[in-house]
């Protein structure tokens, strides 16, 4: 490890990757999507005019912009639609009571399709209130159900991050928050490996490296909590919702704070190395229990992606453009952790020599 620390190439790689994720993560735009629809409630048997607002969209009269509404498994056409600007469409729509009564779901999704943006949608955008409107349009059923529905689910031909409801622009935090935990886990595992080596060999260098890894792991843990709290404030509206993964992470950080306290309370160098190595091995087992076992228990519900607390990324969450930045980000933050560790080890070695 010391020889690896002395080499230069991976530090250049780390700096290059960090620059890449900083630039790519900030410069690649967010894909098109629908942010809101006004009004969001309506009644049966009358035609309403809705205003649909888009984000980073290219609505235009020339690119085939069409709007549908979806309830249950059925699609309905709009009566008419008019493009106001590149990010606003006005659309007339209503639902006959005969049709509404055979659909159990009162929430209607908006689906919008054009040649530039592909198919974009807003789930449960409209809510149907019970009862008919005052002005009744008797020809509505033919207008809404009589047309041909062509939702071909084509992809947008733009190079962009996916537009997700709730996340919006904060999806870029994926390159910071998630790799922080990957890096912390890596530091913690490497630290425990060096603790085992220290117990086997009694070499002080191994103990120094193990403790440096813990300090860096704590830094990444603090950064992971901090970025997570910012993200949670934006998406869930609360910096600290009572989520099993949050509490697990906080306890994981606490375990390693206790490691630092333990090291501080023992003055004898040889004893400190041995005792803290034993505690470190103990701690990594509990830490892995917290990160991998407890969030996966079947009766644990988490707000994090992947239902029932399963922390894995599904195909749905991470698309190919996100992956292009996400995997380099994981490597970059782990390498940065190694870089920090090498500097802390050098400082500690100088301190030992001066004593």
């Amino acid at each position: 490890m010391i020889n690896f620390f002395k080499q230069q190439w991976w530090k250049w790689l780390c700096a290059g990757l960090l620059l890449y994720i900083l630039l790519a993560g900030m410069l690649i735009p967010l894909g098109p999507g629908i942010t809101s629809i006004q009004p969001f409630v309506f009644k049966t048997d009358s035609v309403y005019t809705f205003s649909i607002k888009g984000y980073n969209t290219n609505f235009s009269a020339n690119n085939n912009t069409q709007v549908w509404f979806k309830a249950g498994q059925e699609y309905f056409c709009s009566v008419s639609s008019k493009v106001i600007s590149t990010d606003e469409v006005q659309v007339s729509f209503g639902i006959p009571s005969a049709v509404a009564s055979r659909i159990s779901d009162n929430n209607y999704d908006v689906v919008l399709n054009n040649d530039d943006d592909g198919t974009i949608s807003l789930r449960e955008a409209l809510t149907l209130l019970k009862g008919s409107a005052i002005e009744i349009d008797s020809t509505l059923e033919a207008k809404v159900t009589g047309c041909k529905v062509e939702v071909n689910r084509n992809q947008a031909n733009v190079f962009a991050f996916p537009f997700r409801e709730i996340l919006y622009e904060s999806i870029r935090n994926t390159f910071y928050h998630v790799p922080m935990w990957f890096a912390m886990l890596m530091m913690v595992i490497l630290s425990s490996v060096f603790s085992v080596m220290h117990l086997k060999s009694g070499n002080v260098v191994h103990d120094t490296i193990a403790s440096a890894f813990v300090i860096v792991a704590l830094f990444f843990g603090a950064m992971g909590l901090f970025t997570g709290m910012m993200w949670a404030t934006f998406t869930w509206g609360d910096p600290w919702p009572n989520d099993p993964k949050l509490n697990g992470a906080a306890v994981g950080v606490m375990i390693y704070v206790a490691y630092i306290i333990l090291r501080g309370s023992i003055t004898d160098e040889i004893k400190r190395g041995r005792v803290s190595a034993v505690y470190n091995i103990f701690a990594v087992v509990i830490f892995i229990l917290f990160i991998f076992i407890i969030p996966r228990l079947p009766d644990t519900d988490s707000l994090h992606p992947g239902q029932s607390g399963n922390p894995a990324f599904s195909k749905y969450d991470l698309d190919s453009i996100l992956r292009m930045v996400f995997y380099p980000a994981v490597i970059a933050w782990i390498l940065l952790g190694l870089w920090f560790t090498s500097i802390i080890v050098r400082i500690k070695n100088i301190e030992i020599k001066n004593l």
């Binding site: 117990l199 306890v251 606490m254 375990i255 206790a258 306290i261 333990l262 309370s265 023992i266 004893k271 400190r272 041995r274 005792v275 190595a277 034993v278 505690y279 091995i281 103990f282 701690a283 087992v285 509990i286 229990l289 917290f290 076992i293 407890i294 228990l297 079947p298 009766d299």
Partner: protein
């Protein structure tokens, strides 16, 4: 305790939470005392007399019996003074035994680690509290299960996880204690 038994309408969940808190603090104090009372000289005597794995096994068994005794006393006192509203007594008693076993194992191992420093009583609490939280998670799930329904498949699975946790801690103690012993 006096305040709660005065206010009669305490819910079943908070009664059990109170029970486990009392048990946690009494276990910490009892095990810390057991560690503290051991004079420095006796440690070297044991070292000369027996293998380290035998010493830690003896300590684990002693602290296990101590915390089982504490659990029994607390259970009887609590049942008389506050009263449990349980549907599945067998599940709760199994949880109590497995849980107090976990308390004993965690604090014995952490106590062995903390005995290397000067002020080991406060260090025992600092080191032990985060490690005991997974135990508390399983215990609270099982306690709620024993209030609400008879043992479900979920509860049995949690009970096995709790026992697996005990076994892991004991195994780690057995493997790592010899390294602490070498002075």
């Amino acid at each position: 305790m006096v305040q709660y038994s005065g206010a009669k309408n305490i819910s079943a969940e908070s009664a059990i939470a109170l029970f486990w808190l009392i048990l946690l603090f009494s276990a910490v104090n009892a095990i810390a005392n057991a560690l503290h009372q051991e004079p420095e000289g006796r440690k070297y005597y044991y070292m000369w007399l027996a293998a380290p794995t035998d010493v830690i096994t003896a300590k684990l068994i002693y602290n296990f019996l101590l915390s089982i005794f504490l659990t029994l006393v607390a259970f009887v006192t609590f049942a008389v003074l506050v009263g449990f509203q349980l549907t599945d007594y067998l599940l709760f008693i199994t949880t109590a035994i497995a849980g107090s076993c976990g308390y004993a194992f965690v604090f014995t191992t952490v106590g062995a680690v903390a005995s290397g420093s000067k002020n080991n009583a406060s260090l025992l609490a600092i080191l032990g509290m985060p490690l005991v939280i997974p135990l508390l998670i399983f215990i609270s799930k099982l306690s709620v299960a024993s209030i609400e329904t008879a043992a479900s498949e979920q509860a049995i699975q949690n009970l096995f996880l709790l026992l697996a946790f005990d076994v892991i801690i004991a195994a780690l103690a057995l493997v790592l204690f010899p390294y602490l012993w070498r002075d």
